[in-house]
Symmetry: D2
């Protein structure tokens, strides 16, 4: 059992999840990093945090599996310590697909990995947090939670629903001390695991050359992590329930 | 095969669905009325429309069943005629339930009956409509599609996602001549099958006494039907993608 | 005094205003058409309506002038008949201008012609309508009421405020039988007086060639008029407070 | 000329404005505190900051006056130092008033103090900031910027327009390094100058007894100040353009 407060990151790759984990670890949390695959990547992340003198452990988890999320939470509560912050960082961005290209299976998977998985986290963790007097649930989201663009059938339906789930959860749980915040990233993120995989290595390298490397025209996960940390530490008289994030160089989704 | 254009109503009870069916039948459509149960009620609806000299048939359908929606659409296209208008009228209002009271099963059912079922309709019907140069998909929705209230976990997540699905469908299909409109009813509806069942007969009778019977303080399905019909017949240079509906006496969801 | 119900159109040019006027006249209203200038155009509009056997009169009015709107309403009530429907059709689309190009004067003018002018109409007419048990206020609006794009400083601030004014008016007046609807046109309109003047004749002709003349890719005012008429005649148990309008060929403002 | 970066607070009373000023001063800014009246209160605020070893000056200003804002900015730039952050904290909450109780004068004043005053700040300061490569404009706002409630005619029209002005400014200026954020407080604030004046001393004392003093059920300005400071210091790859703020105990405006 860690003596530090526990921050659980569900979806801890090399982008937002991993960097939010690093930030919380650096600030004194024991961070539990969870991802589906790439054990080597996960071990490296844990090693990096440990090397900095901070505290982290890693877990592999298939969140779509029955009881997986539920067992994980119970296990962490028993073996790592009370979860004070959970960062829900699972997404379902499959790239643009026409209606024809979007299968029933994909449509369901999107819902299962985002909306339903968050519901499972909340069902399991909220009563525990409530009994302790509070906690934080930070949900990473994307533009498709705000409006449905062409090709985003599976993604928008899934995370658009999840956004409203954050609101129903907040409506019930905030008064019990549980702070829920929907943080939506409205731009491309420097993240080899997600954007990199989505667009392919070549395009990703080109994007980095054009927009990253000091230009700051893609979202830098390490920098967003500061906002996650800030929100998790807002005084309870002044909580935020939704924030948008984009680089200075990008127009918001509502502009053309 | 009917010589009239076909209007398919998925979810045709005694409220919005049945009354929109009557309106379209009266205006010259052959109306296919589909509902899950209450064969007697369905037969009465068909008989009422026929007695008025209009055209309707009824079908019982469990929309949650695999292939049920898909087979229905194929069947109607072959045996009743080309579907020009589909009114998607399935909802998932289970009443207010706390997080504890909302089971995984219910959460999934909500998604399956609303978001996923509409996706299945679109996957099946949109290519057929597109090949014919167009069609209309009208989706009955509710306030929980706009924001998540306490107790609405299953409902809001399901239909909030479905609202954005309407947007992704519109983004891809409107240019192909398919008009999609999200019609959300932001108040109680005079509907014994839905509101009546939800609140129980006694409360429903009390509500009718307070708000109906000439007071017009609940949404009268027969009157909303006019707006469905209007939207389905807007000229393609002037389509509407979303409308709200409530009685004069009700404050919108955004007011307190 | 006309025996017909009166429909007052404030901002009656050759686009939305004039065509909504024609529609209401055709359906049995005595239409009072008001515009700032172009007496010849106004006379032609009145003559066209009269030639069709319908009823209309025209008035020139500088809405920005003190007491002009107030006196107009009193005058119409006394000399033409009780105003049942007012269509508020004044806009303030000055074209895209940078912050530098947007003067204080322009910024104020935008507010004065849209938000403040509607407030003056409501202050003057709502008590009269209320005393009669009801009325209709239809407000023509535009995409800039929903979100602020680059170059739209004066326009968006003015009509974004006006949209919320529609909501405050609705919150107070709907229960008194006054139906307020914010109708926003989310695309270019075939209107020589407004779009034509804004982009210049040459570009306007090019736009018509590309998008109009049977292509229906610009909003056709005559067709939108049907939706104005429909909304003004919704049953009070099923009122709509906001609709969007665009051609099938256009993506909504929330899509990219 | 201060060697510290300058933070200008327009609307610096004992609530949000004053406390944001204190926070920035504490963090190393030279804070220029501006308010319309109550010179004693202003002097006390400056004295408090100075007593803590931080840097502040005060100015009285009638923002509605012609050239007042413009001259102030020029003066500060010349005599205090380059303005790095401006906190625009003027509001126009006049309390609930019916349409009848809302005069033309009040309606105009609301617009003048909020939407137009921010436009004047932006017109004057944005070119200066742009020439320096950037700056921050933080706008304090309220629920009425999101939707129009009964009795809020003047307020909602004014600040609803101002919200969209923030968006048009952002659309033009973010790429020039100017970060604009619309921070809306969706609850009552512990602020004797504003809420206290609005509801009267007796009710205000009652509210404090019920909701403040350790209960944290009203927004505590000192706590919100942390979020203002955080936003002003977000890395430019991860800017936020809008945040909501409310106590854990309050339901958001979109809930009933």
């Amino acid at each position: 059992m860690s003596k530090k407060p526990v921050c659980l990151i569900i979806g801890a790759g090399a982008g937002i999840g991993g960097n939010v984990g690093k930030k919380f670890a650096k600030e004194g949390y024991h961070t539990v990093l969870v991802r589906r695959s790439d054990e080597a990547g996960l071990n490296k992340l844990v090693a990096d945090i440990s090397a900095a003198g901070d505290s982290a452990v890693g877990r592999l988890l298939n969140a779509a599996q029955e009881d997986a999320i539920e067992n994980l939470i119970v296990d962490i509560e028993q073996n790592e310590g009370p979860i004070e912050v959970v960062v829900f960082n699972l997404g379902a961005q499959f790239g643009d697909r026409t209606l024809e290209e979007t299968t029933y299976k994909l449509f369901e998977l999107g819902w299962r990995m985002t909306s339903f998985a968050l519901f499972r986290v909340a069902k399991t963790l909220a009563p525990i947090m409530e009994a302790r007097g509070g906690g934080k649930i930070l949900v990473t989201s994307a533009t498709s939670a705000m409006r449905g663009n062409a090709g985003q059938h599976a993604h928008a339906a899934a995370i658009g629903g999840r956004r409203l789930l954050c609101q129903t959860l907040n409506a019930e749980l905030s008064v019990k001390g549980i702070h829920i915040c929907h943080i939506y990233i409205d731009a491309m993120i420097e993240a080899p695991d997600t954007l990199g995989r989505l667009v392919g290595e070549e395009i990703y390298e080109k994007l980095l050359a054009e927009k990253a490397n000091g230009k700051d025209e893609m979202v830098i996960p390490e920098k967003v992590a500061d906002t996650y940390y800030h929100i998790a530490h807002q005084h309870r008289s002044a909580w935020t329930s939704e924030v948008d994030i984009r680089p200075f160089s990008e127009q918001p989704w509502w502009n053309n």
